[in-house]
Symmetry: C2
Amino acid sequence: MSITKIAKDLGVHPSTVSRALSGKPGVSEDLRNKIIQYAEKIGYYPDARASSLRKKGKTGTLGIIIPDIGNPFFATVIKAIEDVLYSHNYNFFLCVSDEDPEKEIFHLKSLISHRVDGIIAAPTLDNKTKNFYSKLYSSKKTIVFFDRFFPTLDIPSIVTNNEQGIKKLINHIYKMGHKTLGIISLSPESITGKIRLETALNYAKKLKITVQPEWIQGFDSTEESGYLSMKKILKQKRRPSVVLILNDLTSLGALRAISELKANVPEEISLVAFDDTYWNQIFNPPITCVKQDPKEMGILAAKNLINILNKKNVLKKQILLDTKLIIRQSVKKLI
Amino acid sequence: MSITKIAKDLGVHPSTVSRALSGKPGVSEDLRNKIIQYAEKIGYYPDARASSLRKKGKTGTLGIIIPDIGNPFFATVIKAIEDVLYSHNYNFFLCVSDEDPEKEIFHLKSLISHRVDGIIAAPTLDNKTKNFYSKLYSSKKTIVFFDRFFPTLDIPSIVTNNEQGIKKLINHIYKMGHKTLGIISLSPESITGKIRLETALNYAKKLKITVQPEWIQGFDSTEESGYLSMKKILKQKRRPSVVLILNDLTSLGALRAISELKANVPEEISLVAFDDTYWNQIFNPPITCVKQDPKEMGILAAKNLINILNKKNVLKKQILLDTKLIIRQSVKKLI
DNA sequence: AATGTGCAAGCAAACGTTTGCGTTGTTAGA
DNA sequence: TCTAACAACGCAAACGTTTGCTTGCACATT
């Protein structure tokens, strides 16, 4: 199943077969048709490895790195990226890092080995990964980050305006008259978690909303962490009037805890969450939240990467995506 | 960044560099270390294309084809597959078909061109795709199907025992005393949809449960279709006492319709669903459903593919996965 | 008849590796 | 001192393509 084999079988030279199949001039119509037909008959598909090797050109492949494919947020981003890449004829390797720097670096090396044209990544925030990305970037590899980024590296990135989102949520509960706030956080190692938590604490302080230390729970972006955190908050004697949940999977767990303890939302406890997920929509009552735009994030990440590859207009190094407050029925009006 | 470049820089022969870097004998320790250090310094990673080309061997890459990455079911399968593949050092191209035969065939061709070692696919059921898979399989390509399969092709597949799942659900509502049944179906072009719908109709008939034609709604596996279907059912004068939802995304839409119309579950209408999704768990009341095992499905699909590639024990052509009935509070007891 | 034009096809090198074989040079055993 | 053994390294071909160059040939132009 190679051009050489076709050439041998048909008694012509490989170069002629190559030209015939790739539509280049220099082959008579008769011979070209004969070659095309024979290639179809034996089920020949060109070897992309050999082709890209010889052409010294691009492989037409990209690498995408995400921490967790089970997280609907990332699944939605991937879906959007896929759409753009397909329309530009790119294939991509999907790599899952599990937030493990070693695994991520392993994948990066293997992407480089496969000579991908570019990499789109939601990187694991860690010194090792940071150094590795930095090396890759300075050796002219094309990289675009989404959802996360390294503040000290000036690699293009598309991220949600997390400060804005948190402030919208806190403004809302403030207007509804809440003065005490609990927080279900996620891993503070992730830049996202760090920004959201810090913004929440600072902004709450500014608005004179009380956040007791024991009302801050959760240090992991998992469903289980959300479940345990919400339980811990609910079981305290002195509770906050509203709980802010900083991420989607933790929200799922938190809602499970609420259901299990039959806590009444918003009568007994109010809730606001980051991310407009399925469960925030379908919970009873539906949860007030800020919506990120993972679709837009994916589209921009992919388009920007392609633009850079095509040496089109260079974009802003960092694109901040707006959030949208979606007011539902999970916050009690206290004034 | 190539072996030849390293060789030139260091004044040795490329073959020596190759041996040094791949740990083969025939290089003095001194020189080997020097070469390794230099390779690290300039950030050299072997060219997987050239290597696999020369070795006439496998590329260490696979292709995965799914209809929709946004569907949590497939996301979970992918996650499980990824886990297995990573532990066996495989990379994979992720291809999304969108249930579009042309797109799927395009992706298949491109996977072949990239000379993947094997393909794991939830195929779009269509004559064109069927013929294409058939051709690939008879030309010795390694393929494993999951979730879907072509009954007339004997390509290995891992699928849920859909008949069993449907029967468990219908048995349950039968025991609870229901005699009238509505169904929110999905695309009957998918073998999954076809089997589920047919089993439901036949088995309901057998148990003398009435299914009026106007109680069968929905012909698409989308959230929107589920939403519209549930609305149509709820707005009828004569309603069934229970509605069976045949798939996960349609269930999300159906639940949205329920919330919107403020229909009381299970007092006004009972619900049962295929797939134990987030929203079936978190809805109030939580929905009685049968659980597939997407994780197991992914693990088996990946392991079987790898077994075949390693020419290990050949497995059963088709593996049927058991379903599990999860009884919650969405079905009213009528007797 | 000599020359020019243009098309069809072959030739060979190159992309980056790998690997069987051949060539050195050193050392140990007889 | 001779040679056998072995280690260290070079040589060149091959994997499947692509592409600039050359060759061969038919036909048209002078």
